[in-house]
Symmetry: C2
Subunit: 389 residues, 2 copies
């Protein structure tokens, strides 16, 4: 269902238990229905008393009060602390009626049914007041916030056992190609093992998407059309067959059953990328070469998946400024995604770096993006590296 | 079982499917048993031919070759490309015997059973050679590496469907306190809702630990002893009752059944932290105040959980240098963990910041650590902020 006015606008929400809530995005603001702590309590081990009575107490002027009981966490003292009396109290125990301060144990000595104090304590000292952490009626967490571990703890502290979060986008992955074999199975002599669906699964999960299904399909237009039109999801990623060849069925299917306004982008790798939609379902046609697939995912699909789940659409990689060692070559008019290593603080492009060389992305520290208006970067240029780890 | 010589020394390993492998730590190095690609293949849509024959071909000197078939991905051309012939070929298709280059389709025009080329191509061009990505027998990923999405893809590309990773440490969480109520349940008038076990669960999962169990126990020595001595895990976290009061049972139990070499640390919050062990099981006694619990976890327990799982023991937070706005007060002789906000680029300490005020950690941008030898930081000092997000 759509969330209400105080909500993260336009997102669907689901209720999850707090055990699953960390890292999720809050769908609606949370207002406390409870003061935390819900009662005044001791912040120290010591004695609960009336602070005004201790005025002037010290090593040469000890004060004696009668011990009338004790207050423990969860086991309060039922009576009241009247003038001339005190109760033992432990950290976290409710402050007894009548008491307004706690004198720490290190300034106290029990003598029979009395306790002698060698220090004074002002009213209010060492007491954690009701509502000092959370005040009932106040907003404690805002809609759209990605929940930290301690946020989930704070929700628990006001008694919640579940919370309303933005629904994860459901993503279907369709890896196409007659040449693809399933990892772990026997491979025909002229087959290669599918890696794109495995990489995409990990990327989608990183970005907060939910895998609806992963399908491996032959280059068969009818099968691909069926897989692309079955309902029940938010995003479709098709890998392979994204270009204009005879066996590239996905662009034709998408243009037929939906719209394909973007087909081909001025970048390397990943130029045969397509972006379109079938009704409300966003469709990304990712090239079959594994580096192109990774790159097109990160440039286009990943942002959308994060955004649909209420997360930031910014790059999910840390960035670091560094100086170029060996020249990084690009071409004016296209964006380049160049895998690089950081070696002794210098950026070195990976030499074997074709779109099919997936190991270029495992050997790389990260990548540099060369904008379309530049021919590359010469040695000595300071540029930003996106770090894979 | 213990891993072998090429392994991440001393860690236990488990085998997981590639679907669960991203983010896990590789237990043993991986050596490829397969060339990738396992055959020479076309990197373009075009025509497979003998590159030497095209020498001199151009707009004014077109070259005609007879088309003898086609090669598709997964559907190779079975014959051989002899002099004077070519086959159609698609990106990813196996290069036919006899051919050594691919001439892109944009320089070709089919005329009956012939194809005319208006460009030359050198032998080897537009061919992806067998083993250009991965060479059989070579190490492709080193032991101890935290797997990236593309690493898992690379493992798939050599035919793996599972991989040996470092076993997650099993962690038992024991939250103690008579005052604790379970979030979602009814609360007694002098109870508070448990938040520590909820926060700790999220932190442990962030750090790659596996929750063995989460237990909420009364301040009962026998129950706590039973929970601390039941076998089957690597790390125990006890929250609450970590100090020296009458109801603080965990330190006594730990000293009795194991060892408690560290009890009390010179820091604020979290001074009543204990660190010990029962046999091989590491035990952390975390204070019950929720900020102290979070802080002691991050300073001590989190590092160990990450380390036992083969991950970095470094802080898991991004850091940012910034300038102090309002004075940050500490005391010489103790380490301070001060929650701060970044406001207009300046560091402002959170004013309500007692160890029991969990909302100080949800309102904060992050924290600053003040080392024991300093009295704090004055306005204008540049210090490092650890960012919660």
């Amino acid at each position: 269902m759509q969330t209400n006015l105080d909500a993260c606008c336009g997102f669907d929400d689901v209720t999850v238990s707090l055990a699953e809530a960390s890292g999720r995005v809050l769908a609606t603001k949370v207002t406390a229905q409870l003061d935390v702590p819900p009662f005044d309590r001791s912040a120290m081990d010591g004695f609960a008393l009336r602070g005004g009575e201790t005025s002037g107490a010290g090593d040469y002027n000890p004060l004696a009060l009668r011990i009338i009981g004790q207050a423990l966490p969860g086991k309060p003292f039922e009576g009241a602390v009247l003038p001339g009396t005190a109760t033992r109290i432990m950290t976290g125990a409710p402050l007894p009626a009548g008491a307004d301060a706690v004198l720490p144990a290190e300034f106290a000595r029990e003598v029979g049914e009395f306790v002698e104090f060698t220090a004074a304590v002002a009213p209010g000292r060492n007491v954690g007041c009701r509502g000092e952490d959370v005040v009932a009626g106040h907003e404690i967490l805002e809609a759209g916030r990605r929940l930290r571990p301690q946020d989930v703890g704070l929700l628990a502290s006001i008694g919640h056992s579940s919370v309303s979060v933005v629904r994860r986008p459901r993503v279907r992955v369709i890896a196409t190609g007659n040449e693809l074999a399933v990892p772990g199975n026997t491979r025909g002599a002229f087959q290669i093992y599918d890696s794109n669906s495995i990489t995409l699964r990990a990327l989608i999960e990183r970005d907060g998407g939910e895998i609806e299904s992963l399908q491996l399909l032959a280059d068969d237009r009818d099968l691909i059309k069926l897989a692309m039109t079955e309902p029940g999801l938010d995003v479709i990623l098709v890998s392979g067959g994204s270009s204009v060849g005879a066996e590239d069925h996905a662009p034709g299917v998408l243009a037929e059953v939906g719209e394909l306004p973007i087909h081909g982008v001025a970048m390397r790798p990943s130029s045969p990328t397509g972006i379109g939609h079938i009704g409300n379902v966003l469709v990304f046609l990712l090239p079959g070469n594994p580096v192109s697939c990774l790159c097109a995912y990160d440039f286009f699909a990943g942002r959308v998946i994060r955004g649909l789940g209420g997360r930031s659409i910014e790059w999910p990689y840390l960035r670091q400024k560094a100086v170029v060692g060996s020249k990084i070559v690009s071409a004016v008019g296209r964006v380049d995604y160049c895998r690089v290593r950081l070696e002794a603080g210098l950026i070195e492009p990976i030499s074997t770096s074709g779109a099919s060389i997936l190991s270029s992305t495992t050997r790389a520290t990260g990548f540099v993006i060369i904008p379309a208006e530049l021919e590359g970067y010469g040695p000595g240029a300071e540029v930003e590296v996106f770090l894979y780890d």
